[in-house]
Amino acid sequence: MAPGLKEIIEALIFVSLEPLSLDKIKETLADHPPEEVEQSLQELLRDCEAPGRGISIIQSGGGFVFITRREIDPWVRRFLKIDRKSKLTSASLETLSIVAYHQPITLSEISALRGVDSSYTIKTLLEKKLIKITGRKKSPGNPLIYRTTERFLAYFGLNSLEELPTEEEIAKIVGEDKPVEQEEKP
């Protein structure tokens, strides 16, 4: 029996070394109508959600990739002999969210927002390639301008900057904080 589109797409994602973009899938399956390809892809994604499998397919970093189920994490780490993936420090995370939301941004602007000198944190984030220098600002001193990288998106499982938490989501958290504090009244 000839394989269906769904199976073909699954195989393509499996073989691809990088997240496989929808465009690339369509390009490969140019002999099929694009709508059919998309539909089959959706079917495949639905199939992947069904229980009883150790892997799944998600959209991340601008394409589709195979990914292990979250519950399998302890065994994967045991297999790869990795104790724990290191997390970002809160200073790094703080600086990174400022860059993400305010980019393009300079070091002094970041430091002003945090109220803390951030040159060391910026250096660490540059080394981790979560941010990059994209030029200089045309203002006194021509300071360097920073932006987030593709690696930043992949690190947080985002496809684009538009998928960052929205104003509303943030406002909700800011609002939630207060009642929580009040409950803790001694």
């Binding site: 990088e18 195979f66 292990t68 990795i82 990174l96 969210s97 927002l113 945090r114 109220g115």
Partner: protein, 243 residues
Amino acid sequence: METSESYQVRLEVFEGPLDLLLFLIRKKKIDIHNIPIAVITREYLDYLNRKEQINLDREAEFVLIAALLIHIKSQLLLPREEPLLGGEDPRRFLVDQLIEFQKIKAACSLLKEREEEQLSLWTREIRPPLPEPGEPDLVEVSLFDLAETFFVLMKRKEAENFKVVRGKNYSLEEKMNEIIAMLKKEKVLDFLDYFSRQETLEGAIVSFFSLLELIRARLVIAIQEQLFQTIKVWLRKESSIRQ
């Protein structure tokens, strides 16, 4: 939250003065838009005073905000001949900064959740051989890293201080082919090793440029585990299939 143990909280726990201010505002259940400056300043200074000495390198920013608070208070106390235009509140600048900072903290907590989630998901990564246990995360190197390593290597070559008796011409193409041929045979090339095997300075430089060319043409992947360490080079899988 740290609230319950607030009196054991040390200054170091706070990422910065704004963090401490927000903490105090929440602890005192103060409306951020209407901060009683005297109350908050007292609380804030209390925290600073709990430290025996201020480390100016690390904590100057805390002192700066303390000064700002006192300045705002004095502005509020000073009688004015005419009311400020548009009823400008001296607290305005600080409040704006705190509100923005509060948003950043909220975004942080959301990103942290995402990070947590992502860290428990595993993909098949482009890591040709399985990493050795305890090996640091491999990072694909940027041109900048390569250049930096290059200068380190050049220094080493210079230090060797050998003499070239007879000039020899190196072509970029020859070198590139040589590297590709070696990669086909051995899969992984230790570039530092290869580099130091070059007989002349010229050969070394050309071999470095060849590597840059190969990376640009997306024929190879170069990975450096840490700055100034060796660069490992692999053929890109896709390209080797095509050839």
